[in-house]
Symmetry: C2
Subunit: 343 residues, 2 copies
């Protein structure tokens, strides 16, 4: 049984650096696209057999050291009553974004064991099918990121509607974020009960907030969600891309075992910033570097491993893998990490 | 004659902090929208009378301490032969993005005095009409930002095509960036000759690059463009939003008089990072904070001025003003800066 990933998350000694890739169950794999031809994105999320099939593909085809359950962060707002469509390429769309005070009040707070049973079933099935080959990761979106999608209705560049709420109606924003933090926290605990051996919290739109707003509206609620998970003892990976300035504060506030690192920092900088923190580090290869020729990918992956030094490091990309990356390049990245040893 | 802006750029003592707003000649003003109803965006850029009319609106209506000529950073690639449409709301689109080696080779390098005469005429006319009331700012896009638009064809989130070129064909990327640096540099010098009293270089997509790529593909070419301007003696404002980590390197490499600061840092952090550098600072109010009630805008604007201390500071937003900000809120921001005095 390959438990390198879990040991690296816990800061235990590892013989080699474990590696997985965010969005590794994704469109860059022809095998994924074949499943996707048979079902739309949300149907794949809601059908455990399909979700597990694509969850396992990168383990079988690329040889990653961890599986992450195939799902989407927006299943939580959907379970709270918000109609959702996901069109890969365009991105997710909420049919009726939150606008009026009533919209906020009408959000449901269902038991995730019921409302999100399909994802928990997928986790159980994935654990069975993995049969100990590699650990299984669960995940959820952090409250600020979910809230901003729920208000905007879709991804935007500026997040002006969501940020407008923060200054116009901070009371409403705090209520929503608190509700989301507990909903997400309970969901993550349910995922652990269903078999997730680590969980990642994605605050994907952390970079839309400046320091002041991040500290008031994002960090405390990401921390509140993470605190739900602490009694379970499974590692929490806290990932807030675009907020590299806040790494120390994120580690402190969330108590996460692992800090996710985006690609904006060189690995040497990322290591310098995190080496003294009581966390493991996950990241941070620029996904666009996977377009380089495989020999160059290998050089850069080795340089990343050199920078982190081989311990308390889970190699990963600094953002999701892009859909037009050749699978051979993803394989080159994974193999380069797995063959690397400290000098 | 109000030359507070120029004195603050040069680091000279000012009695009060000058203020202007990026994209101040823009859709948030009903008076701008009335001009825009008569002509499309690029026609406004290419018609000096219209460009000057909207350039002067924020001086007359909001009382800003500097005017910036109405134009667009993409007029440079357009002058080099690339067909362009600009649809406000959707953003600019190049009809035939650069793809093949031939596309790169076919780019023209025209004399900006001819190919961009319409913008230089607008600058001359604006200087006449301003008649010394406030200084006039020219601008251009920095090479990396222009290159990424030329390759992508439009703004994107990931800039994957442009970044792909950097790893697949670094030779082609460097050739394009060098060409753009000289084209932009010559254009800025022509703007100074036509009456611009300061120029701003916008590297709007700096944040799409990690450290390594920024240092190889963005910074040297932004610096090369800035160096063209140095003999003219007018202040250069270097603005690379999303690359706050690089402020010290940008100041050093470009020799800019003024560092533009985005909204991602609190003003206290921005001041701490820049106080010891031989530059003035421009920024950095979060544009979304202009949605706050005017009394709150005033408090936050004063806090920003407090943080920078009143000297070597040009108050501005940390990004362009958003189109749905009430003009009264823009006015509250400008007046709050203008009434502020150090404690």
């Amino acid at each position: 049984m390959n438990d390198l990933f879990l040991r690296a998350c816990r800061g235990e000694h590892v013989e080699r650096v474990p590696v997985w890739m965010m969005r590794q169950a994704g469109r860059y794999l022809p095998e994924y696209r074949r499943v996707r031809e048979r079902a739309d994105f949300l149907t794949m999320c809601r059908t455990p057999e399909l979700a597990v099939e694509v969850t396992l593909q990168p383990v079988d085809l690329i040889g990653v050291d961890a599986a992450i359950i195939f799902s989407d962060i927006l299943v939580v707002p959907q379970a709270m009553g918000m109609g959702l469509s996901v069109d890969e390429g365009v991105g997710p769309i909420f049919h009726a974004p939150l606008k009026h005070e009533d919209d906020f009040a009408q959000l449901r707070e269902p038991d995730p064991r019921e409302a999100l049973a399909y994802m928990l079933d997928a986790l159980r099935l994935a654990r069975r099918e993995l049969d100990g080959r590699v650990p299984l990761i669960g995940f959820a979106g952090a409250p600020w990121t979910l809230a901003s999608y729920m208000i905007e209705g879709r991804g935007t560049k500026q997040f002006a509607k969501a940020k407008r709420l923060l200054v116009e109606r901070p009371d409403l924003a705090h209520d929503l974020l608190a509700k989301l933090a507990d909903q997400v926290g309970r969901f993550l605990v349910a995922q652990v009960e269903a078999g997730a051996q680590a969980v990642q919290l994605f605050d994907s739109w952390a970079g839309a907030l400046g320091e002041r707003d991040f500290r008031e509206f994002a960090l405390p609620y990401m921390a509140r969600a993470a605190q739900h998970v602490r009694p379970t003892g499974v590692p929490v990976i806290a990932f807030a891309p675009g907020a590299a300035w806040a790494l120390e504060e994120i580690a402190e506030a969330t108590g996460a075992s692992v800090l996710g690192l985006d690609w904006t920092m060189d690995a040497t900088t990322a290591h310098a910033r995190t080496a003294a923190l009581p966390v493991s580090r996950q990241g941070n290869f620029d996904p666009c570097w996977l377009y380089a020729p495989p020999a160059e990918i290998r050089r850069r992956a080795h340089a990343m491993c050199d920078a982190f030094g081989g311990q308390r490091h889970v190699a990963n990309l600094g953002h999701g893998i892009l859909p037009d990356v050749p699978p051979a390049h993803a394989l080159a990245f994974v193999e380069a990490v797995q063959e690397w040893r400290p000098a």
